[in-house]
Symmetry: D3
Subunit: 229 residues, 6 copies
C-alpha cells in the first residue's frame, strides 16, 4: 500500500442548502470520482447545513433534549452524505456508515467513503479528525465557506488577510477565543486534540474553489491555509 495517498475531506453542509449550489456539488463529486479512479484513497465527511439547523429548531420547539437534537442534526448530515455518495457514483461506498466500525468496514472495500456525523456532543469536524487518524491520512482538508484562516474575521473586516500558514498553537488560540470560533466554524476541541497528537497535515480552503480542492488532494498547489506543527 506504499505510495497510496490517503486524504480526508471535510465539506461544509452549506453545499446542500439549496439547488443553487448543485453545480459546485457536481464539480466536487467529479473531482472525488476522478481522484479515486487515479488511485487516491478518499474519505469525505459532510456537515448538516441549513436543513439540519431547521430540523434542530423544530426539535427544540418540541422540547427535545440536546443530545436528541444532535442526533437529528447527524441524521440530516447523513442525508447529505447519501446525496454526495450517489453523485460520486460507482467508486463510492454505500450505505453511509453510521459508526466508526461501519466506517472501517466501508473503508476496507477500497471505495471512497462518504459520511456525516457519528455521535452526539461532537461536530463533523471531530468526525473528520477521528477518521483521518484511523486511516493514517496524509492530509485532512477542511473545505468551508471561506478561503482559509484569516488574521481577522473576513466577514467583518474587508482588509482581513488570508494566512498561507498558521502554527497550530495560534489556531488553537483562535478557537479558544469564542467569538472567532463561532464565526469561522472551524474546528472543535476534539478535532484539535486529535490532529495535534497525530500531527495530521491539515489545510483549510474554500469548498467553492474546486480547483484548490483538487490541488490539495493531489499534494499540489491550492489557495488556502496550511497548519504548521
Amino acid at each position: 500500500m506504499l505510495g497510496i495517498r490517503r486524504v480526508v475531506v471535510k465539506l461544509t453542509g452549506k453545499l446542500f442548502d439549496d439547488r443553487s449550489r448543485a453545480g459546485v456539488l457536481r464539480e466536487i463529486a467529479g473531482v472525488i470520482s476522478r481522484k479515486a479512479s487515479e488511485g487516491f484513497r478518499l474519505a469525505v465527511v459532510v456537515g448538516g447545513g441549513r436543513r439540519a439547523r431547521e430540523y434542530i429548531e423544530l426539535g427544540r420547539e418540541l422540547g427535545l433534549a440536546e443530545g436528541v437534537l444532535d442526533m437529528v442534526g447527524i441524521e440530516v448530515s447523513r442525508v447529505n452524505a447519501l446525496l454526495l455518495a450517489s453523485l460520486v457514483g460507482g467508486v463510492a461506498h454505500l450505505p453511509v456508515p453510521r459508526s466508526v466500525e461501519e466506517f472501517l468496514r466501508a473503508w476496507s472495500t477500497g471505495r471512497v467513503v462518504v459520511l456525516g456525523g457519528l455521535q452526539p456532543g461532537q461536530s463533523t469536524n471531530a468526525v473528520a479528525a477521528v477518521v483521518a487518524e484511523l486511516v493514517g491520512a496524509d492530509l485532512l482538508v477542511n473545505a468551508t465557506d471561506v478561503a482559509g484562516i484569516y488574521d481577522s474575521n473576513p466577514k467583518e473586516n474587508p482588509n482581513a488577510r488570508l494566512l498561507k500558514e498558521v502554527r497550530v498553537e495560534v489556531l488553537e488560540g483562535m478557537l479558544r477565543s469564542e467569538e472567532l470560533a463561532g464565526l469561522y466554524e472551524l474546528f472543535d476541541r476534539v478535532a484539535m486534540n486529535i490532529v495535534k497528537r497525530s500531527r495530521i497535515p491539515l489545510v483549510f480552503l474554500s469548498a467553492y474553489d474546486v480547483k484548490s480542492l483538487e490541488g490539495a488532494i493531489e499534494g499540489g498547489e491550492f489557495t488556502g491555509t496550511r497548519v504548521l506543527y
Copy 2:
C-alpha cells in the same frame, strides 16, 4: 398476549413540515405515549413531507436516479420518525428501524416502534401495511390531512361528502383512477394488496383530529372512514 390490542398508525409527513404544527405533534405523541402505557401495542409509520420533497428535488437537480431519490426521501422520513420517537419518550424504541428485520427486533422489546420508509419503489403506506400484517394488527389507522375518504375531491368540491364506510373494492377503484389517487395520497397498490389479503381493519381519519385518533386506537368512536371487506 390475548386481549392486547395492536394498532399501526400511518402519520402524514406534513406534520413535520414546519414549526406551526408542533402543537399537534405534541398532542399525538401524548396520545401514543398514554395508550402505550395503558397496554396497547403500537407501531407508527411516518411519511417524509415537505422536506423529503425538497431533498428529492435537489437530488433530481443533481441528476440522481429515481431509486436513489426514493432512498433520500426514506432517510428524511426516518428523521421525522426519530423526532416523533423522542417526543413519545421512554415507551418508544430507539433507534428507528431501517429494515423489516430491525422492525421485528424493535417490536420484540415491547416498545412503541416509530419508523419511516423502508425500501425504494414503495410508499410509507405500503410500509404501514407490511408492518400491520406482520404484527397481526387489530387496526391500521391512516392519518392524513383530510378527514377520510370523500365521494369526490374535498379540495375541489365544497360539497364533497365524507363517507363513513367504504367497501374495499370501491376504494380500489378510486386508487385506479389516477387523479384521485394523486389528490388524496391515500394508499398504493402494495398496501392495498396486503390489507385485502389479510383483511386488516383499516380506517382513514385526519391527523389533526387527535381525539378521533385516540378513539380509533381504543376501538371507540372517531370521525373518519372505515373500510369494509
Copy 3:
C-alpha cells in the same frame, strides 16, 4: 467506472427444485463467474421455487399470517441464493444480503451479489427491479422457465408465438389481465412501476438457455423478448 456493464439477472427458483437441474445451475454459475472475471458487474436475484411453496403450505396449515408466509418464502429463496453464490465461488459475495442496505454494502465490494427476497408483500421480481434501479443497471434479465413473452399462453396454445419485442404498455396490459399474469409469473406491479419510471432495459428469456443468458449479459444475441419503452 465508465464502460463497466452492469447487469441484474432474475433467476426462477425452479432451478433449485430438484437435483435434475444441477447441470443447468452449474452452467449458469459458470457464466456468472466468467462474466464477472471479464469485468461485468452482476447482481443475481433468485426465487424460492417448489421448496418455498411447500414451506408456505406447511405454514398455512399451521395457520400463520400471510406476511409470515411471505417471510418463510423469502428465507427459502435465500437458501437458494446461498447455494448459487457458493457455486459461483470466489467472485461472489457472501453472506447473502437481507435488506437493501446490506445489498448496497455487498455491491460496494465489487463482487457478484446473489440474493433472494427482501420484504413481505413483494415478489423477487420486484427485488430485481429495485436492485437494477439502484445500481443503474444497463440491463435487467428475467430468466424464467419459458423463452420469453408470447402472444398467447405457450403452455395452452401450441401455436403461441414468441415475441422478439414487446412495448411496455402491452406488457403492462398483459399483467393487468390476471390469468395471464398467473400463468407467466412474469412481473409484479412494483417491478413494472420501477422499470418504467427508470426505463431500465429489460429482456425475458429462458433460464435453461444458458447461451442466450450469456449473450444477453454481454449485450450480444439471445433468444427471448426485449421490452421497448
Copy 4:
C-alpha cells in the same frame, strides 16, 4: 431474577418434515407460549430435518464444500425456527438470531428465543448446549423422536429398555461408539463437553410426548431419561 426457571429445549427438525406433524407442532407451540406467559424463560433450538438433508444433497450434487453444506443446513433450520417462533406468537422474539451475540440480544428482551444452527462444523445439539450454558439454564431438554436413552437401539431391538437415568460417563461412552451415535442422533462432542463442564441438568424425551415436554419444563414429571453427573 431469583426463582425464574430458565429452560432450553432442543427440538428435532423432523417435526417440520411434512404437514402430518402440524398438530404436534401446534401443541408444542402452545406449551411454549403458555409456559412463557407463566413466567418461565425459554430458548428453543430447532434442527433442520428432512428439508435440510435434501438441500444438502442438492448442494453435494453441485459439488459444494462441506462447510457450505453445513451453512445450507443451518439456513434451513432457521426457516424452521421462523415457523415455530411465528406459531408461538407474541411472546416469541423475531427475527431468528444468527449468532451468539444476536441470541444474547434477543434473550435480553425477555421473550422466548427460537433459533436454528449457528456455525459450520457444529450440530444444533451443540447450539443448545452453548445457549443453555450462557443463560445459566436450570434444564436442557433434548426432545428427539425416541422417548429417551435406551439400553440398546430401540429401532433394532424390540426389547430395548428406556433408561430413567443414565450417568454422563455412560452416555459419553455411547457417543464414542459411533454406530449408536449415528442411530440416536443424540449429542455431539461439543455439546457433551459443555454440559459436563457446567453440569447442566439434562433430560432426553420424545418431542411427540408434549405432556412430558411440559412436565420437564415445569420441573415436574415426564417420561424420558435424566442424565446424572
Copy 5:
C-alpha cells in the same frame, strides 16, 4: 414512565485491575442488580484500567497510530463491561453495545446496560455524559478511586479537603489546569460540555464506597461531591 429514576454510573476501570478488587466488584454488581429490580433504570460505563494501559503500551511499542491505540483501549474497557454485565446477571443486557445506536437499542429492552468506550479521541467519561444526556438521566455518578473533588490534590496534600459541593465553573477551571486534570482523571472537555449544556445532575464519589454509590443512585445520602450549575 413518570417517576422512574434514571441513573448513569461511570466506574473506574481500576476495579478490574486485579483479583484483589473482586469483592468490591461483586458488591457493586449486587447494588446495580438490586436497584434495577427495584425499578431504577441504570446504565453503567466502565473504564479500561491497567490492562488497557498495558495493551496500549504494547501497541505503541509496535508503532501503531494513536487512534488505533484508543480503539485497543476501548476494546479492553468492553471486556470489563462484559465481566460486569455478566456479574450483574439476568437484569443486565448483553451483548455490550459498541455504538450509540447499539446503546439505544439495548436501553430499549429495559435492562441495565453496561458498556465501555465508544470512539477514538474520547474518554469513557465522555461516553457516560453522552449516554446520560440521551436517556435524560436524573443523575450521573462518577465513581473514581478518590472520594470526590478536593480543594487540592489529596494524593499530594494530606490536608486536602473534600468538597461537598463545587460549582461547575470551578470544576471547569480545575480541568483547564492540566496537572490537576491529569491527577484526578476527572472529566474531559466533551463530558464537561455535555453536562453543562443539559445541566445533568452530577456527583463524584469513590467506587470503593459502595454504600455511597447506592445512596446516590437512590437519591439519598452519600459521601462525595455534588456539582452545582
Copy 6:
C-alpha cells in the same frame, strides 16, 4: 479466481503476551502484508494468550459461568486480532469479524482478515478450521510455540524428535491421549473433524520461525510437520 493461493494461519496468542515479542509480531505482520500484496489470500486467527487467561481467572474469581469465561477469552483474542490487523496495515480488513457471517463479509472485500475466537465451547483452532473450510483454503498453518509435532513431548524429553510428516490418524490418537493434548495445545476435536472431512492441507510450525511461516504460505520449504491424510 483460479491460481490464487488461499492460506489460513492460526497464530498462538502468546505472541501478544508481552512487549518482548514485538519484534516477531512485526516480522509476522510484514510477511502477511507482503504475501497479500503479492496476491495470496490470507486469513489469520489469533489466540488469547496470557491476558485471556488472566481475565478468565478474574472472571472465575468473580464466580462467572464457564460460557461467559469463554466469551471473555474470545474478546481478548479479538483485542490481539485488532493489534495484528492494524500492524498489517492497509491490506488488512477492519473491524475484526465477530461471527462467521461477519468473517465472510470481510473476506468478500479481498483483504486479509484477522480474527480471534467466535463462540463459547470452541477453541481458536476450531475457528481456524471452520474458516479454512469455508474459504476452500489450500493450506492451514498452525503456528504455535514449538516447531511442530514431536514423537514425544519436547518440553520434557530433550531427545524428542520433530516429525516431518504425521498421518492424521496418528495425530488424532495423540489428541485423544489427554496429557499430550494439554501440553501441545494443538488441535481440538471440532478442528480435527473439519480438517479430516475436507482433507484440508495442514502444517504445524513455530510462530517464531518467520521464515518457515513465509515458506509454508508460499507453498515452499519450511521447518515443521505436515499432516498426511
